[in-house]
Point group: C2
DNA sequence: TCAAAAGTGTTCTTGATACACCCATGC
DNA sequence: GCATGGGTGTATCAAGAACACTTTTGA
């Protein structure tokens, strides 16, 4: 049953920039397009927003359908509305970015989707539409946000070492950090709980494992606490 | 000539939260709705996005049409997509916020629009749709952004005193600031140019007028300079 | 001469930075 | 026993916070 409108309407889509940390590199999940336009090119997972679903729901649904990801950290990024960004017709896209723990999701992502692949942000293939712009903005946002909100933990497994955490920040921010200062600061927040476990990974001293205390963070946040770097 | 689509599409609108500084208060420009739904209620200026115009262009056009404002600082805020946010049909709105110098625009705004009025953010009337949410988010964004980007000057006249600037920050952030520390810091950036003018305003010592050196800021920014508080 | 806002420096405290060595383990 | 990353403390420096009095003007 086709719908009729007096004026032409833009189509509405969502697109997702999915970040993951893999082998010490920051990566993004891309889909190879099966259809024109840009057939065969790599693109962000995404698709049309249904009339009876919120934008967030559409973003989550598309992620699930195209990549098998569920229960990820997801946040709206920006809405892209250049007139010719899609060669077929006017399409406005609400972009999201997501942070996933590859430990959870690596397996699923591989099986479900037709052709989904992780690419290091530093070596992306050519992207369809204006998706390169979207990725660039997502990266800037991630770099900004990671400094004053503890979202980095969304990229790590539930149990991690301080070195894991430091490398995460170094990769995202593109800087080197001093080990002692980093540890002093991050432990100073009192949001990392040392576990009764260590992690062995090669012929050297095993590393203490920690988890992030999200509950405590929420409580502190309400009292005006500020996580920074 | 009506358009036909296979699936129902959401309508796309833009809405603008226009901030202005008036009589030492932070205010927002609202429009009284002439039509249902929410007839008679106050709402953000905004309207439908045309098929051949960018989102930014739509936001500027609506501001001009409904409030007479042009050439204002304008930045995308967030896109609101709750399913029932408009009782008639599905409407997704890309929200913007704008900063205007009342010195420039007060006159125009008064004449052009049917019923536009400035309301202090602390005493807003009941708003149509989910516009109260949009305003709340805009305020949060403004408070965040004003700390690390020199956008406050968009709310001041081209020539201003340091007290004007300090009061602006105090009003936006809702805090009191120490006069000496504030001046030390803000002058330390070297972005305020003292003019050969003073401003008399009552029976006390006249105040030095400054202008913000936007060119110099742009150059510094490219070299990694960081404006902060 | 008084009221009212403009303008100005110093001390103290806090947080950021710089920096080098010992520890536990696997091979 | 050696290579590898894990783990720790202190001294210095810079920036932020606290704080009070003099200046200029109009009435």
């Amino acid at each position: 049953m086709p719908h009729t409108y007096q004026y032409a309407r833009a189509a509405l889509t969502v697109d997702g920039v999915v970040f993951g940390l893999d082998a010490g590199e920051l990566k993004i999940l891309l889909i190879q397009r099966a259809l024109e336009p840009f057939k065969g090119k790599w693109a962000l997972p995404g698709g049309f927003v249904h009339v009876e679903e919120t934008l967030d729901a559409a973003a989550r649904r598309e992620l699930a359908e195209e990549t098998g990801l569920a229960d990820v950290f997801l946040e709206q990024l920006y809405t892209f509305g250049a007139v010719k960004r899609d060669p077929r017709e006017r399409v406005v896209s609400v972009a999201y970015y997501a942070l996933v723990k590859l430990s959870d999701h690596a397996a699923k992502a591989a099986t479900d989707a037709a052709k989904a692949e992780w690419f290091p942000v530093s070596r992306l293939p050519q992207l369809a539409f204006d998706h390169a712009d979207i990725v660039a903005l997502a990266l800037t946002r991630l770099q900004g946000k990671v400094r004053y909100q503890p979202i980095g933990f969304e990229l790590l497994p539930p149990k991690f070492t301080l070195s894991d955490l430091q490398h995460l920040y170094e990769v995202i921010l593109g800087t080197e950090l001093d080990k002692r200062n980093f540890r002093k600061k991050v432990l100073g927040f009192g949001l990392l709980v040392p576990l009764n476990e260590t992690q062995m990974s090669g012929r050297h001293r095993p590393a203490q494992l920690f988890r992030f205390d999200a509950d405590k963070y929420e409580k502190l946040k309400k009292r005006g606490f500020n996580f920074e770097l």
